[in-house]
Symmetry: C2
Subunit: 375 residues, 2 copies
């Protein structure tokens, strides 16, 4: 009944062990299946909740739970503290996620939630884009070339046969380093900077993944995209923060990942309820019915759905087991005598006193097969 603790290093070893491409392909595949089989009868995804504060430093700490009956619950804790980089040399987002057995309550595993979030956000865009984008889409535009854009490109490069990738970022440094940062998986792709106007006009699929300020969006306007463009709107995740122009949204088929949340903090904030289309899982479950949207403008309003974290964590846990990575620690109290909270002080007092703390079991993986070669 130990808990598996995966260090960041363990997660990196998993990603490198199986290869980034394998990891992304598998995640897209599992996410597709999860959307196909999603039902509120088997899975519960409450809206995220948390602490939001503006003093002494602005930030938020929120929990994103998801539960499948008789199987597992995952609860991701996400800290968002924009002052971290400057004052602490830490990333804005720090996150961990725990998996619980919903038949016993046992904490099965605890691991980092940040890389997992980037991966699943990319994978969700891949699922949405593969259904809603026009057949033969070849040009991808990325507005915002930061951390999320890397995972978006990775996921979409596994889904589309891309001819060209156009990138734009308000920060010239971020734009300038994108090609190098994506080289680990995208060295075969033609990536070039573009004006935001050119990017919007020429792309078949667009991802907006910016840190535009509250009330400062949209991130483009006054430019007409292709009549079949599909947009993945990634950045909107807070009340008042939007990336897509209202007039475009109003003409588009808008598919949120999680309607309640998208209305509160996604692009759907800008829309009336009747302007919002079905959730992504409904589109995935009824592909034929939504076939026609491929010819029109479509928007995937991605605010981050806890089911995506759930699927990603299950995958990483499986790979950790396969590669025998992680540290096992007995955290939960399992009393020898269920009606004695002090059992350790009576029956085992002397034994406990003389014993060293349990040495954690540290798995080693002597011969991880690096399926990802030196791209």
């Amino acid at each position: 009944m130990e808990t598996l603790i995966l260090s960041d290093e363990d997660v990196h070893r998993i990603a490198l062990g199986v290869g980034l491409d394998y990891l992304m392909d598998e995640l897209i595949d599992r996410l597709t299946k999860a959307f196909e089989t999603f039902s509120t009868e088997t899975t519960v995804v409450p809206a995220r909740d948390g602490f939001v504060y503006d003093h002494p430093v602005p930030g938020l700490l929120e929990w994103m739970p998801c539960m499948t009956y008789g199987d597992r619950a995952t609860v991701k804790l996400v800290g968002y503290h924009p002052g971290n980089p400057k004052t602490r040399s830490l990333p804005t987002i720090l996150s961990t996620i725990g998996a619980y057995d919903t038949t016993s309550g046992h904490l099965i595993c605890l691991m980092d939630g940040t890389l997992l979030t980037a991966l699943r956000t990319g994978a969700a865009s891949a699922v949405a884009s593969s259904i809603m984008s026009a057949p033969g889409s070849r040009v991808l535009g990325l507005i915002g070339a930061g951390v999320q854009a890397i995972a978006q490109l990775h996921a979409l490069s596994r889904t589309f046969d891309l001819e060209e990738v156009l990138i734009y970022d308000v920060d010239a440094d971020v734009q300038g380093t994108f090609t190098e940062r994506s080289s680990v998986f995208a060295s075969h792709l033609s990536i070039r900077p573009a004006t935001v106007g050119d990017l919007v006009r020429k792309s078949d699929v667009i991802c907006t993944a910016t840190s535009v300020g509250i009330g400062e969006g949209p991130v483009f306007y006054g430019v007409e995209p292709k009549p079949w463009v599909h947009l993945n709107a990634i950045g909107s995740d807070f009340p008042g923060k939007v990336e897509i122009p209202l007039d475009l949204l109003q003409r588009a088929f808008v598919c949120p990942d999680f309607r309640t949340q998208a209305i509160r903090e996604g692009e759907c904030q800008q829309l009336t309820p009747n302007q919002i289309g079905p959730d992504l899982f409904e589109v995935v479950q009824n592909r034929d019915r939504y076939q026609h949207v491929r010819d029109q403008i479509t928007v995937f309003d991605s605010t981050g759905w806890a089911l995506e974290d759930h699927v990603a964590m299950n995958l990483i846990m499986e790979l950790a087991a396969e590669l025998r990575l992680g540290t096992r620690v007995q955290i939960e109290s399992i009393p020898v005598d269920a009606v004695n909270p002090y059992y350790f002080a009576t029956s085992r007092r002397h034994e406990t006193a003389q014993r060293r703390p349990t040495e954690p079991v540290l798995f080693e993986s002597p011969d991880i097969a690096f399926r990802q070669t030196g791209t």
Copy 2:
């Protein structure tokens, strides 16, 4: 930026290292101070929330968050699965609690939540009883002699000069082993079984800590307690579950730990809003104003308040640091390059591939002073 993982063994070593009495005294002291200084300006305690299910096995998994601005948040996850003992030889309750830095979002520590819960529930009763019970209270009655009763007796034995402890449990085995189970701290006390009627009639302070079924309460009736009796109602923690007779409650000064929660799942379920008194922190902050309640029947409606967990965890973390116990693991992703989720695959690919997983730092405490001697 590592996370401190405390194993159950670490927590036992802390408890034995400082001594159970010291731990309880310190906790009562800190809880008193926390109630004295509690303000919604500095501390946020949302109602607990979670998943409740009745298939494939009945259970619930809930989270209890608490946050002090600019300091720490704690989130306790509690699994309650009544089938655990029979089907898995596991306790009904499995629990872990995490502490987060609310200036950075960092997960500081993760540890077991079960022992901590028993301790803080006992300590909260001690705080409530010390203010509301009649001066010179000497006889304690325990209805329900299970795991919580041990911690209740421990806490109250540190607060009162007890002459006699009367116990009653519907389960003769549980009643029969109580003296032995409590001997680690209570060998100097006169503990004897009683009928529930005798117990209620003779006690100055009563704790009800039963697992009475939903709709099956109260746990005593038709017997008149002393006119100054103070009751700590511990067991009510679910809609429909109550322990105290309504006619007694209606005559009593009823003080909930957390009004909103007590109305939903505590004794306060039975009352109308105007029959419910102030929360415990208000009574602690205005001792003089509530001096008169010592002469009347008083009830502390204890449903479990996340602030109590918060205080208990902070104490245990301090003691862990003092005794240098726990295992440190780098769990959260701290990218070298903040805009590259795959930084580990580019700059450090070969290094990571060849490196063993980080060896966790395991603290040892070579010479823990056992302040608790062989009582």
